[in-house]
């Protein structure tokens, strides 16, 4: 039975009030941004290069980015051919089973992982205590945090093969305690946030010895944990780094599906819900009991997001990049300094910013799911929608990561190859590339590009979720608004001049 007219009228009135309020808020936000710009009179991201070129006020640049997201969501709504949408994300090419190459590759990767781990810890302690030439710092941050992560979402996930802790743990007797399935991936969420926290506040990027200690401690904890609850359960649910790479790896075009190496269009494996063969069950115990893929890259059937904890992982990946972007800008450092001046300890300020911001991002996303359910006539729960629409967040995160780390990786790549070529001796003449200014303009393209692909992925997922195509389009609006919010925040951050975070050295 349809709902009665009067309640619907009341709902419409409420909706309009909310719309007007939202618009007012957006206007106020834009005006605030405009005031800041009038004071600093800075140009867009290319401030050094384009003094007399076309200068766009920062609020206009940010608003344009937001509008680009909104407009492309509307444009995606123009594609209403179900067959075409299906063809795009179902496209696969088989590259063979790789029967002979796979074991050799896995062996080599495992060896490389073990050797690198040992070298990072050893050289972190004994090497020169200077970040830019120390093997540990360069390999972990330029190699792992930037390079390997980029390779993971651009090509495919090799971390399960490289992971040194996994290599060792699998050769030991393991699995003495059963992992409580109801915890889901929450331990991994906490772990990812903790590692980012350590990265930004403890100076591991500057002091190789601290880094070596942290890496050794991480290796020890991981080994004990993996032996205790079994490698698969540990690396699937608890280990932050394996989870980090597993999630990013889902964006990549290359993956092992059912024992065969297949290539898909980038990010299209994120469309994983298929009503015709499975129900979109939101029962965490069922989800938690799904067989874990031993290679971590997933089979054709395994879904990456099955519960709210996975949603939190995806949001955490988006948030950590926004946060480290924020505290390393001059404005961010100034905000922190101003709060600390009131008399609060800096670490507390950072903690509140970090956890509070994550809660804000996560809450905004969940709120979008609630609004979405209320807007379309559906029996699906907000939780179902939140879980279903979380995979596109990974593309957003990949775009942000590229925007934050691409230039960093390029400029440090000579150092990386130098330390890798001679791990036991400090490079005598470390080279760092100075990049042309247009590289920073690429960042805008990366952020927007990530969001655009995410919109298409979400569009495909909505078509699988809802019987009516208009419902599918309408269900997207709240999420698009949240995406616009994320974009605006990120575009604003990458346009600001960078500095070292306040009080952290």
């Amino acid at each position: 039975m349809p709902r009665d007219e009067s309640s619907r009228d009341a709902a419409a009135v409420r909706r309009w009030t909310r719309r007007v309020a939202t618009l007012a808020l957006a206007l106020i936000g834009a005006l605030l941004l405009a005031r800041g710009v009038a004071a600093s009179n800075a140009a867009v991201g290319l401030s050094e290069a384009s003094r007399d070129a076309l200068a766009v006020p920062r609020w206009l640049y940010v608003a344009t980015g937001g509008a680009a997201i909104g407009a492309s969501a509307l444009l995606a709504g123009f594609v209403t051919d179900r067959g075409f949408v299906e063809r795009v994300h179902d496209w696969r090419r088989d590259l063979g089973a790789g029967d002979r190459i796979r074991p050799i590759g896995a062996g080599v990767a495992a060896l490389v992982g073990l050797v690198l781990f040992a070298l990072v810890v050893y050289r972190g302690v004994t090497g020169p205590q200077l970040a830019t030439i120390n093997f540990a710092v360069v390999v972990v941050f330029a190699g792992g945090r930037a390079g390997l992560t980029m390779a993971t979402y651009a090509v495919g996930n090799v971390w399960p093969a490289v992971n040194p802790a996994r290599t060792v743990a699998e050769r030991l007797p393991n699995g003495f305690v059963a992992y409580p399935a109801r915890l889901g991936r929450w331990p991994a969420v906490a772990g990812i946030l903790l590692l980012v926290w350590i990265e930004t506040t403890t100076g591991v990027t500057g002091t190789p010895r601290t880094l070596a200690a942290v890496i050794a401690a991480y290796g020890l904890v991981t080994l004990v944990g993996a032996v205790l609850i079994g490698g698969d359960a540990w690396f699937r649910n608890v280990d932050p780094i394996a989870t980090f790479f597993r999630f990013y790896g889902r964006v990549a075009p290359l993956a092992w599906e059912g024992g065969r190496l297949r290539v898909s269009l980038p990010a299209m494996r994120l469309v994983e819900i298929d009503e015709r063969t499975e129900s979109v069950a939101s029962d965490p115990t069922i989800a938690g009991d799904q067989p874990a893929a031993t290679d971590g890259s997933g089979t054709g059937r395994e879904r990456i997001v099955t519960g709210l904890s996975d949603v939190a992982v995806a949001v955490a990946l988006v948030w950590e990049l926004t946060f480290s972007g924020f505290v390393t800008t001059e404005q961010g450092a100034a905000v922190v300094r101003r709060i600390v001046d009131v008399g609060l300890p800096p670490i507390l300020v950072y903690a509140v910013l970090f956890v509070g911001g994550f809660a804000l991002f996560y809450g905004a996303y969940l709120a979008a799911a609630h609004v979405s359910v209320r807007r379309v006539l559906t029996t699906r729960t907000p939780r179902e929608l939140a879980v279903a629409f979380a995979p596109p967040l990974l593309v957003v995160a990949a775009g942000y990561h590229l925007a934050h780390y691409f230039a960093f990786f390029l400029s440090l790549s000579p150092s990386l190859s130098a330390v890798l070529a001679a791990p036991l001796s400090a490079p005598t003449n470390p080279i760092v590339f100075t990049l042309p200014a247009w590289v920073s303009a690429l960042n805008i393209a990366f952020v927007l590009g990530g969001h655009l692909v995410a919109i298409w992925v979400a569009h495909s997922i909505a078509y699988r979720l809802f019987p009516s195509r208009l419902q599918a389009i309408r269900s997207q609006y709240p999420f698009v608004f949240v995406m616009i919010g994320y974009t605006v925040a990120s575009l604003w951050l990458i346009s600001l001049p960078t500095t070292t975070p306040a009080f952290l050295g």
Partner: protein
């Protein structure tokens, strides 16, 4: 089956969805949605009458989509010219 139950209890709008899909048990608020759902998700389980109903619902949906496209186009034009003027005024 758990899916159906969780879907039914979580609504706070009052009325219960009255149209059940006989193949997967999913519930819908209107008959049109049920027909579309069966056509999209269980195309092989449809009988002749259902297939006709699906075609009709699909055509009706197509009309609704056409009006959505018009409105979307309007918004896009507004956005385009809005930003054009903003750039004329503020970019120098």
């Amino acid at each position: 089956m758990t899916d159906v139950q969780s879907g039914a209890v979580a609504r706070d709008v009052g009325e219960t969805p009255a149209y059940d899909c006989e193949d997967c048990g999913r519930q819908f608020y209107t008959e049109d949605l049920l027909i579309l759902h069966r056509g999209v998700t269980h195309p092989n389980a449809l009988d002749e009458a259902e297939r006709d109903a699906y075609r009709e619902a699909y055509a009706a949906e197509e009309r609704a989509i056409r009006s959505f496209r018009l409105r979307a186009l309007g918004i896009l034009v507004l956005l385009y010219f809005g930003f054009l003027f903003l750039y004329v005024f503020y970019a120098s």
